[in-house]
């Protein structure tokens, strides 16, 4: 019962935060310069190595798997297309987002959570500074911009690594791989994936901020919040992925 009530408490708090964030867009001018760049910098360069590694290996793995499933059914020349579509529509945005949720989402929750328990948030309010505009808005904006950028990097790496795997594991030379890829490419594949990535960026940053604000005092408070931020945003990402895929591609 208690957990049930808490769920709704957080849902309510989260909705209020969402509303206040949207309202704070009125003061967007104040964050466009320094704070936004700073956050974008932290988010992009903090996550890009992880994203590259993940993309590299998922490109390899998926190609080997496609070779295995498709053998005897699908002409291997189409590996490139199959993979590129998978990467752009699904793997690129979702895997990057899940990795980034662990990094950026947890980071935001920890940072804002520490500010909450050490009264830095109260201190902002005392100065007449809206903490949502000051802390959440630049992070959310940065997330919405940086996630698609990371996704493009991930997709590029995954496609390159898969073209290499295609050559070595299933004997499809690169020119055939890329020829097939070009033949069936539709821009919507790319755009749809990037729109997803933006939405995931929004989810990660707003959920991280929410858990930061909701952090309880005490030694374990911040730790709990970071875990909760990762778990909650991962769940929301998977859920939003489903909704968005249906909306964009059905």
């Amino acid at each position: 019962m208690n957990a049930f009530l808490r769920f709704f408490e957080h849902l309510g708090m989260g909705t209020i935060l969402l509303w206040r964030t949207l309202k704070s867009f009125r003061e967007i001018g104040k964050v466009l310069k320094h704070p936004l760049w700073e956050q974008m910098d932290i988010m992009f360069f903090g996550s890009v190595p992880l994203v590259i590694l993940t993309a590299l290996f998922s490109g390899l793995v998926t190609t080997v798997q496609i070779g295995y499933y498709g053998r005897g059914y699908v002409p291997m020349d189409y590996v490139g297309v199959a993979l590129a579509k998978m990467v752009m529509i699904e793997l690129g945005p979702v895997l990057s987002a899940l990795i980034v949720a662990g990094r950026i989402g947890a980071g935001i929750a920890a940072e804002i959570g520490t500010m909450r328990v050490t009264e830095q948030i109260d201190s902002l309010e005392c100065m007449g500074i809206d903490p949502v505009r000051f802390l959440v808005l630049p992070r959310v904006l940065a997330g919405v911009i940086v996630l698609p950028l990371l996704t493009i990097v991930a997709e590029f790496i995954a496609i390159v690594s898969s073209s290499i795997a295609a050559k070595f594991y299933i004997g499809v030379p690169a020119y055939i791989y890329f020829h097939g890829l070009r033949l069936f490419f539709v821009p919507l594949d790319l755009w749809g994936g990037l729109i997803k990535a933006s939405v995931f960026g929004f989810i990660i940053t707003i959920v991280g901020s929410h858990w930061g604000f909701a952090t309880e005092k005490g030694a374990t408070g911040v730790g709990k919040s970071t875990t909760n931020a990762v778990v909650t945003s991962s769940l929301f990402i998977i859920f939003a992925d489903y909704i968005l895929t249906v909306m964009i591609y059905r």
């Binding site: 940072e111 520490t114 500010m115 050490t118 009264e119 830095q120 109260d122 201190s123 309010e125 005392c126 100065m127 007449g128 500074i129 809206d130």
Partner: protein, 247 residues
């Protein structure tokens, strides 16, 4: 003027304030005494609306701060400087940026003017050299002084100090007392000071109240402190009396 009328506040089952009535006229320097956990910090936070009362009203310059929209509350807060018990400096910003933030956010002054004002208040707390340090590089007492500088930088009409001299050596502590007095008498800043430090209390206060059992148990002008017969209050000033005798 700040006025608390019948303020009640509980956290869960724990009743912290049980009907606080307190009126702080403009220009006064009020000291709030009370044992650890008595609710002094909670009381102070009511004055800026960081905590809302369960019952009762908090009135600042004639406005009930819990019955106005947030944007108006933010305006009122700009007249109030608040020194947090734990300093609450922004970890990610240098000392300079911490102190400058209220002015930068206000956006009324240009960069050189902001710089001048920041240096001025840092000088008041004798921390000009710490300008470029990060909060993590400061001692507890230095952090407290930066917090004081930050509370003063926007030239507020009211300053609320939550234990300004705790963690601070006696010499610096004396400077801070002087600073509080100076701001109060020369600039006319209304000051509310929470402290355990009875020596500084007797130096700076126009009036002293004791918060105990969730109410204002003693409320006395500075010149009448020796006439109070409340045992808890006497306990507070006893140490000072003993020291006086040694001298």
């Amino acid at each position: 003027m700040i006025e608390l009328i019948d303020v009640h506040k509980s956290f869960g089952k724990k009743q912290v304030l049980r009907g606080v009535n307190l009126r702080i006229p403009a220009g006064e320097c009020l000291v709030i005494l009370g044992r650890s956990g008595a609710g002094k910090s909670v009381l102070l936070k009511h004055i800026v609306g960081l905590i809302q009362p369960d019952r009762g009203r908090v009135i600042v310059e004639g406005v009930d701060i819990n019955r106005i929209p947030e944007s108006k509350l933010y305006k009122i807060r700009k007249n109030i400087g608040f020194v947090f018990q734990g300093s609450a400096l922004f970890d990610s910003m240098s000392v300079f940026d911490n102190v400058a933030l209220p002015l930068v956010e206000e956006g009324l002054l240009d960069e050189s003017e902001i710089r001048r004002r920041v240096m001025e208040v840092l000088e008041l707390v004798e921390l000009q050299e710490a300008l470029n340090l990060m909060p993590s590089e400061l001692s507890g007492g230095m952090r407290k002084r930066v917090a004081i500088a930050r509370a003063l930088v926007a030239q507020p009409k009211y300053v609320l100090y939550d234990e300004p001299t705790t963690d601070i050596d006696p010499i610096t502590s004396e400077r801070i007392n002087d600073l509080i007095i100076e701001l109060n008498t020369d600039v006319g800043v209304t000051s509310v000071v929470v402290t355990h430090d009875i020596h500084s209390t007797l130096r700076i206060a126009d009036r002293i109240v004791l918060l105990s059992g969730g109410i204002i148990k003693v409320d006395v002008k500075r010149e009448h402190v020796w006439e109070v017969d409340d045992p808890e209050f006497q306990e507070f000033i006893k140490v000072f009396k003993m020291l006086k005798n040694i001298e």
